[in-house]
Subunit: 253 residues, 2 copies
């Protein structure tokens, strides 16, 4: 990652490329980690107790997002949240541009780089975000809130400034089923870089997205690119959904 | 998912197919969820505090696996765990078989179905598991323990009974970087179904894997198959790494 590779097309100003990503990995903040005492605001530890079919009682520790769902506590097997999704992950593919000044003439994917305290590293991920208003309502019913489709276009615009068109919305998928209930939907969005509304993208990032930057990576060779970044940049961690997508893309049937 | 599709080849006895998966979704256990009090055994809630480059103090709640890493608490920005991986996810591709009695004559992928208390559902995932012995050592150094390669072959054999050959091992990837530090590596394994050692696969599942079953799904059309399962079976949740891999596989560059 030392010298720019001349053959790679450059994305527009303000967007990082494979060549410039390393330069954005400034010193990581010095973080103090302490046991969380008192009432957590976002996460709660929950103990699940059940009997397996043989009658053996089993327990499992898990963590729940407090803000996104009715508390699971004292609501055995809630069914009202079947269709609730915490978040969306946006596979944002930029079509080849006819104008090299705007975007490369090959398909690229828009990713986001940000400091993630939980990983202690910079992480490279799909643009993503929580669906808004997924709060429980008094009688146990769930306000379906923002649809994954709306959330995906909003997050894409807020995080990268680009306006996309949605091709598909996947089903709820589990982030880390061993320990959390949280889930997302994968939304595939196509971006036409040559439209007027995408001429001067203006991200509208939230205060807690102070570290967020947009990265454009060619779709061709994505897995090799991610493997190269992971090898060269120990302070970078790649998200597992992004890596898995790239592994599928590279797989020969 | 009602009637078997005659054109789909059947995997060996004891392994579920797309046609038979629904029949394995027996009633979910009745689970009681309670706030976790006292000392958790597996998970801990941690508060991260840091200053962003503008000098603004920020906090973040996160959850750590207790058993897999030295406690983060009071160890700002630990660097000794750079190469520690909590788990492996095994992309286990079964080569087309020359013997239809053993396995289909088309490439299939081995998945596992299990009840996951955190999701309150049956989940369909890559065979996966924690790397063993990744415990902290007194002086702060980390015993590197079981390699991802060894862990992948062990988990594959324990969960499905099959012996594979590893093609590649990916870098550490973040499970859910918004809230957890845990990470895995993706290991690609090829399985030759026609070898003697794979003639009569014998899983060796652990007690807490009481619900685990092996599922074989054709690689061709994997994303469509997953979308179909998610649509037809509300009590099933698909893992996000598996879904992302399938989405990449289906994506046309």
């Amino acid at each position: 990652m030392d010298a720019p590779v001349q053959s790679l097309p450059l994305p527009p100003a303000g967007i990082l490329s494979l060549n410039t990503l390393a330069s954005a990995l400034t010193a990581l903040p010095s973080v103090s980690f302490t046991p969380l005492v008192g009432h957590p605001k976002w996460l709660s530890l929950v103990k699940a107790t059940f009997k397996d079919p043989s009658g053996t009682e089993r327990t499992w520790e898990l963590v729940e997002r407090i803000h996104s769902k009715p508390a699971a506590v004292d609501k055995p097997n809630p069914s009202a949240d079947e269709n609730v999704t915490d978040a969306v992950d946006v596979v944002a593919v930029v079509n080849p541009s006819k104008s090299p000044a705007r975007f490369p003439a090959e398909a690229t994917i828009l990713l986001v780089l940000q400091f993630r305290p939980a990983t202690r590293k910079w992480t490279l991920e799909f643009p993503s975000g929580l669906c808004e208003k997924l709060t429980g309502v008094g009688d146990g019913l769930v306000d379906p809130g923002e649809s994954p489709r709306v959330a995906a276009l909003r997050e894409l615009r807020e995080e990268t400034g680009y306006v996309g068109v949605i091709s598909s919305v996947g089903p709820p998928i589990a982030y880390e089923p061993g320990i959390t209930s949280s889930c997302s939907r994968m939304v595939l969005a196509k971006i036409d870089p040559d439209t007027a509304e995408n001429a001067t993208p203006q991200p509208a990032r939230e205060a807690d997205e102070w570290s967020l930057k947009t990265v454009a990576v060619p779709m061709a060779g994505l897995l090799d690119s991610l493997n190269g970044l992971a090898k060269d940049l120990p302070e970078l961690r790649i998200d597992s959904r992004l890596y898995s997508f790239a592994a599928g893309l590279a797989h020969r049937l």
